[in-house]
Symmetry: C2
Subunit: 234 residues, 2 copies
């Protein structure tokens, strides 16, 4: 039975790292004393050690020990023995490429399907979708595939942004980008605003947090899904 928090962002404006998720995280990892951290996304190019130290500091406040996967000789084994997993944000391409390099995607997927508790933020959430085709990140490395874990039967667009009224910038809006995606693919996309997350319990995906989510489907008008609703595409 799947048990995940798939969050748009680790940090909301004016709050501390993971602060707004404290209660949810404590509940998700209630049976774990140690949580395995996957720091591969390296936000801003920081080292695995620096990133792990930052996250471990906050997990300590939550009463949990957090250990970086890079400190294990055998990362596959670390996943198989983990009591819970947190994959932090950063660059989705770097994260996915590194997971493929270490041949970890299949084992991570299998463990999550078996019930391993998982927390993802931003890039760590993107990899829970069918593919990373809807990441906002810059493609700074070339992964062997854009295929992700497919824990969710849809893709995530984290940090979802509404069009800025009266903007003078001519770059595409997020909605235009996702519309472009649907000229190429039929995978639904959930635009998840900062402060929103998806609570996955078994096959149920419930939208949580302060905001509605924007749901995009091929050849349909996008719509707003209220918080506390189940995400489905009937």
């Amino acid at each position: 039975m799947k048990n995940l928090i798939v969050a748009s962002t680790s940090t909301i404006y004016g709050d501390s790292y993971l602060g707004y998720l404290k209660q949810e995280i404590t509940c998700l990892f209630k049976d774990a004393t140690t949580v395995l951290f996957i720091p591969y996304a390296r936000p801003g190019g920081i080292t695995y050690d620096e990133y792990t130290a930052k996250a471990a500091h906050v997990f300590e406040e939550f009463g949990k020990k957090l250990v970086g996967i890079h400190t294990y000789a055998n990362p596959k084994d670390a996943i198989l023995k983990a009591e819970g997993i947190f994959t932090g944000g950063g660059n989705t391409f770097v994260l996915l490429k590194t997971l493929y390099q270490h041949d970890l995607l299949a084992v991570l997927r299998e463990q999550i399907f078996q019930g391993l508790s998982y927390l993802g933020t931003s890039a760590g959430s993107n990899i829970c979708g069918v593919s990373i085709n809807n990441t906002n990140d810059m493609p700074i490395v070339y992964p062997p595939s854009f295929k992700a874990m497919g824990i969710l039967p849809f893709n995530i667009n984290p940090h979802y942004l509404d069009p800025v009224p009266n903007s003078k910038h001519m770059g595409e809006t997020r909605e235009t980008r996702i519309k472009e995606f649907h000229s190429q693919s039929s995978i639904p996309v959930v635009g998840l605003r900062e402060g929103s997350w998806i609570r996955v319990n078994g096959e149920r995906c419930i939208l949580k947090g302060a905001h509605t989510a924007r749901i995009f489907q091929q050849e349909k008008e996008p719509f707003e899904l209220p918080t506390e609703s189940e995400i489905s595409f009937h």
Copy 2:
């Protein structure tokens, strides 16, 4: 002798399509009566015909005929016989994948090195760099490589955006994303603001337009390059 306009955007706020580049384009294509249009980037998922009609309308005002490459039975031959080429913006991944699919990248590169006049905007500019690693676009399709034409000895970040002061959005700034790239690569990146373009004459790349450009190099502080300056990395 290379002869290109590599522009950040096709359209600046409040102006018509290609309006701000009218004089430059007329000069670039002064010896051409017909220009070949590459509409593969399909902005917003529009069809090749729709996109070509939009661009041809403006080229007509410039006194040039514009013909879409998709109307030729043999696109490679169309490039070999072209008097000038314009590659429009849209999705860089879709553009590059389509060029690879039709096996056009090498012939296009070769013709440009031989002196074929070329205009690129946005995605059409990204493909002039070493790779598309610094596109802002969503990776909605998976190209067989991120390697681009390497007409320029650096990469382009078009639609370059400065950090928004007091923004409450927690997604990465453009500068953070490019810094992440330099944790993985030593290719310099030119952040090209909307309204800026690069005029390539032989081996000289001159920054043109109203703005400075932001130059990013690995392990160096980024700096602002004044307009009308030569882009170099000594």
